[in-house]
């Protein structure tokens, strides 16, 4: 595979970092500040997309920054997988920026400059993780992301934020230091390198028990992926303002967690090694437990954001499930779900935020008949829900289809049941919301007053419509992502 | 048993210094009064100084001063046997160590005076009680 050396990956990471001082200095002029965010977001997206043609040709872009020890450097390498993730993150950053402006201004939130600055830092870290060439760089950006999102999660600075923040840190920082760090160093100790390679880095140095322990340490250590029992931080993080929940916990933070596990499985252990040791089944079982249990818990949640949070936990495990199938279609389905789920889930979160800004309602039981007041929002919600459940005409169907085919391909038919049951559960906890919103009786109808359309402000509605449309588009045109996966994983 | 006795008798100087050191250490740790601790510290350091000096000692040797070494016509003609003179190097080193010991003692005494002025006592247990009385620390 030909490798081109270019500083574009570094620039893509640094763009939003460099804009932070500008943001801080223009804190008194909100419009100037917001326009700088757009500029940064647009530049970032352009940079990322500019590398796309090269990747689609089958080449890679690399850049080594600092050599720490032989085989462990701080370096970037853009391949198919990383490009997929980066495109998703960068495009959604712009959309979320529009959304967060509307949200924060709509609620007249405090500390907006701090908010957008740490947001920018978080996105830098996400793109950095996407472009990481080895486990050390990935770990570096993973940690930076954890720390950069803490002020965002605890933005409201009240008592609940404090507790949630503590939980957030305990589960995310604690697991990464206690599990990932020793596992990573052990890998280096045994093999002398941490670069992601197509066939993994181990050449016979691992015995099966050691591989199992290491694998478990990584899977549970990257707690951002929300595997139970280290998932509690996700619902707790819902105290954050909705743009944070939307971008970070539907797109950036959680996807970095899942992405890291995907990288470890495909780039550190290697599909063949895991297949030889039959460890795919272990990971699939763990993922299945999470999928089913969190879907059940989602059913019992009345607060909309918490239901969405548990849905996210479940969907993330789909991705891990897919990758653990260790078969080409399973891998495709799992990885492409990163993109499909991102667009679908962010739509749902955007809707939740819009509902809160427009009506102040957080609980599903309050949302009867709301669809008549906010038709666009709930239409988008419907589309997003379809994407998460996995029904056509949304992109989510494509990923779910591949996952199901993947279970057949890998001869794990029992696990196909897991997929089907959980899809059923997904439908059960999403569709009633939509139906009640459109067909239920709202308070106005009870009072026999006419219902007027009263959406949230445009800044909030337009992004969610955009992402809903993209979800549908991805159903018809998933090819770009599929090609990236095929190239990235050599399948 | 005779071996042990021979050992003790032959190196009695070292044993003496070890006992002195232990006395000094004991005083530093177990005594309540600050001045007694200081005295113990001094004994401890002095014991070490004596130890060093005794390293340089040789049997039937004399003090390391060469007569008429500067000026005098017959000075450089004589051959100097090192075995006749005790080793001067430890003495020189210990001069420095004595200075250090005195300086430390001086600083410690000054501090003890300061402590006494503040608390009107030099007993450690009373000091501890009075520390609690003066309230939270800075």
């Amino acid at each position: 595979m030909e490798t081109i050396i270019s500083i574009k990956p570094l620039l893509a990471v640094l763009v939003s970092l460099f804009v932070i001082p500008v943001l801080v200095s223009s804190s008194g002029k909100p419009n100037v500040r917001e326009s700088w965010i757009f500029v940064a977001g647009a530049v970032k997206l352009v940079l990322v997309l500019s590398m796309l043609p090269v990747i689609l040709e089958g080449k890679q872009i690399a850049l080594t920054l600092f050599e720490i020890a032989p085989g462990a450097a701080i370096a970037f390498r853009v391949d198919g997988l990383g490009m997929l993730f980066a495109i998703v993150a960068a495009s959604l950053y712009i959309v979320t920026s529009i959304y967060s402006i509307g949200y924060m201004r709509g609620l007249n939130e405090h500390g907006q400059t701090r908010f957008v600055s740490f947001f920018a830092l978080a996105i830098s870290a996400t793109i950095g993780a996407a472009f990481s060439a080895n486990l050390l760089t990935l770990y570096l950006f993973y940690e930076i992301l954890s720390l950069a999102t803490y002020p965002l999660v605890t933005h409201h600075q009240d008592a609940t934020s404090r507790i949630s923040g503590r939980r957030y840190l305990t589960f995310i920082l604690g697991t990464s230091i206690a599990l990932v760090l020793p596992a990573m160093i052990y890998c280096y100790h045994v093999t002398g390198t941490l670069e992601f390679s197509t066939a993994g880095i181990f050449t016979g140095q691992l015995s099966k028990p050691a591989a199992l322990v290491l694998l478990l340490m990584f899977v549970f250590g990257f707690a951002k992926a929300g595997i139970m029992p280290f998932h509690t931080w996700l619902p707790a993080a819902m105290v954050a303002p909705t743009p944070v929940s939307a971008l970070l916990h539907a797109v950036a933070v959680v996807k970095v967690g899942v992405f890291s596990i995907v990288r470890v499985i495909t780039g550190i252990f290697g599909v063949d090694l895991l297949a030889d040791f039959n460890l795919g089944v272990v990971v699939m079982s763990i993922a299945s437990v999470t999928i089913l249990v969190s879907s059940c818990i989602a059913l019992s949640q009345d607060e909309l954001k918490r239901r969405l949070a548990y849905s996210t936990i479940s969907q993330l495990s789909y991705i891990i499930f897919g990758v653990a199938l260790l078969s080409p279609q399973g891998l495709t389905g799992g990885v492409i779900h990163i993109a499909m789920h991102a667009f679908g889930k962010i739509t749902l979160f955007f809707c939740a935020g819009a509902i809160f800004v427009a009506t102040g309602k957080k609980y599903i039981s309050q949302m009867q008949g709301l669809g008549k007041k906010m038709p666009f929002t709930f239409a988008a919600f419907f589309v997003g829900a379809l994407g998460v459940i996995g029904l056509p005409p949304t992109g989510g169907f494509y990923s779910k289809w591949n996952l199901i085919l993947g279970t057949l391909e890998a001869q794990q038919t029992i696990f196909m049941l897991v997929l089907l049951v959980s899809s059923f559960l997904n439908a059960f906890y999403f569709l009633p919301i939509v139906f009640k919103a459109f067909f239920g009786k709202s308070e106005e109808e009870d009072n026999k007053t006419p219902v007027k359309i009263q959406e949230a402000n445009l800044c909030l509605v337009i992004p969610l419509i955009i992402t809903a449309i993209i979800s549908v588009v991805l159903f018809f045109y998933p090819t770009m992502f599929v090609n990236l996966i095929k190239i990235g994983l050599s399948i | 048993m005779t071996d042990l006795l021979t050992l003790i008798v032959a190196k009695y100087n070292y044993w003496l210094y070890v006992i002195l050191m232990m006395i000094g250490l004991y005083a530093m740790i177990a005594k309540n009064n600050l001045i007694k601790k200081l005295v113990g510290m001094n004994i401890f350091q002095t014991a070490i100084i004596l130890f060093y000096v005794s390293i340089g000692y040789k049997r039937d040797a004399t003090i390391p001063i060469i007569q008429n070494a500067h000026g005098g016509n017959d000075a450089h003609a004589a051959v100097i046997h090192a075995a006749d003179y005790i080793n001067p190097l430890p003495h020189v080193l210990m001069l420095t160590a004595i200075v250090v010991s005195v300086a430390t003692f001086g600083v410690a005494m000054a501090l003890a005076v300061r402590v006494y002025q503040r608390y009107q006592t030099l007993e450690e247990d009373e000091l501890r009680m009075r520390l609690v009385d003066i309230g939270p620390e800075k």
């Binding site: 720490i68 002020p151 920082l173 | 070490i48 420095t96 402590v115």
Partner: protein, 494 residues
């Protein structure tokens, strides 16, 4: 110039003399004198480092007398690095301390600078010297000045804390002296390299064993290795903050340097690891030190005391790394000397700014500090991340080597202690961050208040600039740790 090694040590000495005289006559001059003296020393240290990197070890003979009778300064890669660290931190600390010295010891500022310079002289001399007895003398110079400094701080508790410090310090130094005495008994020389040559034939001797143990015990007491650390928290908390800022990063680290010097150059690694069988026990001791320091830090309610116990924990890292018996562990220990000096300096700079503004740093005093002193807190946060071990700060990279070395040596308990202490440090610092971040500020907060402007009462500019420089260096040292290891540490260890 050939005399750079001497200049490094003598310039602060001369400056101390001049500053002392100035303190009697024209007090305003003592600060500039100190500044110039340390600047010259830092420049010379830099030159020496460059020279050693390019042309190898420097053997400098004081006044031209040849060893083993004369005193020789042997500057190799390890010394040179530590010399530069000491000189730079001393210099930058002086810049940052101007205001706080005025505040804390305003009537005796001149004497403060004089003693400060003497302290730095002692440290530089300890690092540079190649003679065992000279080392003792310089250790005592360092200790004496630090005894004095500790007493200059808190009027109530300072003198007593200093007295307790004196007692333990004297025991430590005297053990070392005794150890040197035993060495002299057997080898007849005091020059480090000379002794090493003679010792290579004496491995079975019990005198040398006792000498080794005594020297190690003495140095361990001086570096506050658990359980001989009792003097450190009180001594560092009650001293004036300008002094705590330099003694915390430097003194214990220089003692670690002395231990490594004794281990590598004087006694020799094959003696320690093959003839003696102490390394496992010492690594266990280090493990306990790491855990004890971290746990005791958890129990503290005062920021300075908490940081002091974290230092105890960090010393455990270095001792464990050095005694692990493999090159990776030793690399980690030496790298950690640099990194810990920087991290602790950054932490204490932030704390110093807080003390300057708040006068007290019990946890209750720290409410809402993120709003009031954002830049100071930014420096504090970065230093805290380095101690927790978050990349790309330097603390992560020394932990990397230490854990790697632990795996290679099979010392899994030490690796576990490192990980656990990182977690405990995370808890510690986030506890502080929470207090600084969450306690409601008087102006009203939360939804609906987008225009709250908290009055920023920051520390003076001199402190902020130094704090900023050090914070940047934390990241730079982290990212370039590969270069540092390859240029300085690995060649030294060959």
């Amino acid at each position: 110039m050939d005399n750079y090694p001497a200049i490094i040590v003598i310039t602060p000495l001369l400056a101390a003399l001049l500053a002392g005289i100035a303190a009697w006559t024209e007090e305003r001059l003592s600060y500039p004198i100190a500044l110039i003296g340390l600047a010259v020393s830092m420049f010379a240290a830099f030159k020496v480092l460059m020279q050693v990197i390019t042309s190898g070890t420097i053997n400098y003979r004081m006044a031209g007398w040849a060893p083993p009778m004369g005193i020789e300064y042997t500057i190799d890669l390890l010394n040179a690095m530590v010399l530069l660290i000491v000189a730079s931190i001393a210099f930058f600390n002086l810049i940052a301390s101007y205001k706080s010295v005025e505040q804390e010891t305003n009537d005796r500022a001149g004497s403060f600078y004089a003693i400060y310079l003497l302290f730095v002289t002692g440290l530089l001399g300890v690092t540079a010297t190649g003679d065992l007895f000279n080392l003792y003398v310089l250790i005592e110079i360092t200790s004496l000045t630090s005894y004095t400094m500790v007493a200059l701080g808190d009027r109530d508790r300072g003198p007593l804390a200093s007295l307790n410090y004196i007692f333990i310090g004297v025991i430590g130094a005297s053990f070392y002296l005794l150890g040197v005495g035993y060495l002299y008994l057997k080898t007849g020389s005091l020059n480090m390299v000379d002794v090493a040559n003679i010792l290579s034939g004496l491995h079975g001797s019990s005198t040398i064993l006792v000498a080794f143990i005594l020297c190690m015990l003495g140095i361990w007491i001086k570096m506050a290795l658990f359980p001989m650390h009792v003097w450190l928290p009180n001594a560092y908390s009650y001293s004036p903050v300008a002094f705590a800022r330099i003694v915390a990063p430097l003194m214990t680290k220089v003692m670690v340097y002395v231990m490594i010097r004794l281990m590598i150059t004087v006694f020799g690694l094959d003696y320690i690891f093959e003839t003696l069988n102490l390394s496992e026990a010492v690594v266990w001791l280090a493990t306990i030190a790491v855990l004890a320091g971290a746990v005791m830090a958890l129990a503290q309610k005062n920021l300075k005391k908490m940081l002091a116990y974290i230092i105890v924990c960090e010393i455990g890292y270095m001792v464990g790394g050095a005694w692990m018996g493999n090159q990776l562990g030793m690399t980690g220990a030496i790298l950690h000397i640099l990194n810990d000096a920087l991290m602790t300096f950054a932490l204490f700079l932030a704390v110093g700014s807080m003390v300057y503004k708040l006068k007290r740093v019990d946890f209750i005093d720290l409410k809402g500090l993120f709003g009031k002193m954002p830049w100071t807190m930014a420096g504090f946060v970065l230093a805290a991340f380095s101690i927790i071990g978050v990349p790309p700060t330097c603390g992560f990279f020394s932990k990397w080597y230490l854990i790697l070395g632990a795996f290679e040596a099979g010392a899994y308990h030490f690796a576990a202690a490192l990980v656990i202490s990182s977690l405990i440090c995370a808890v510690l610092f986030f506890k502080v961050f929470e207090i600084c971040f969450f306690e409601p500020m008087p102006e009203g907060h939360g939804h609906g208040d987008s225009s709250s402007h908290v009055t920023i009462e920051e520390a003076p500019l001199s402190m902020l600039i130094v704090s900023g420089l050090v914070s940047i260096s934390l990241i730079v040292a982290g990212l370039y740790s590969g270069t540092i290891v390859n240029t300085i540490i690995l060649p030294f260890l060959q």
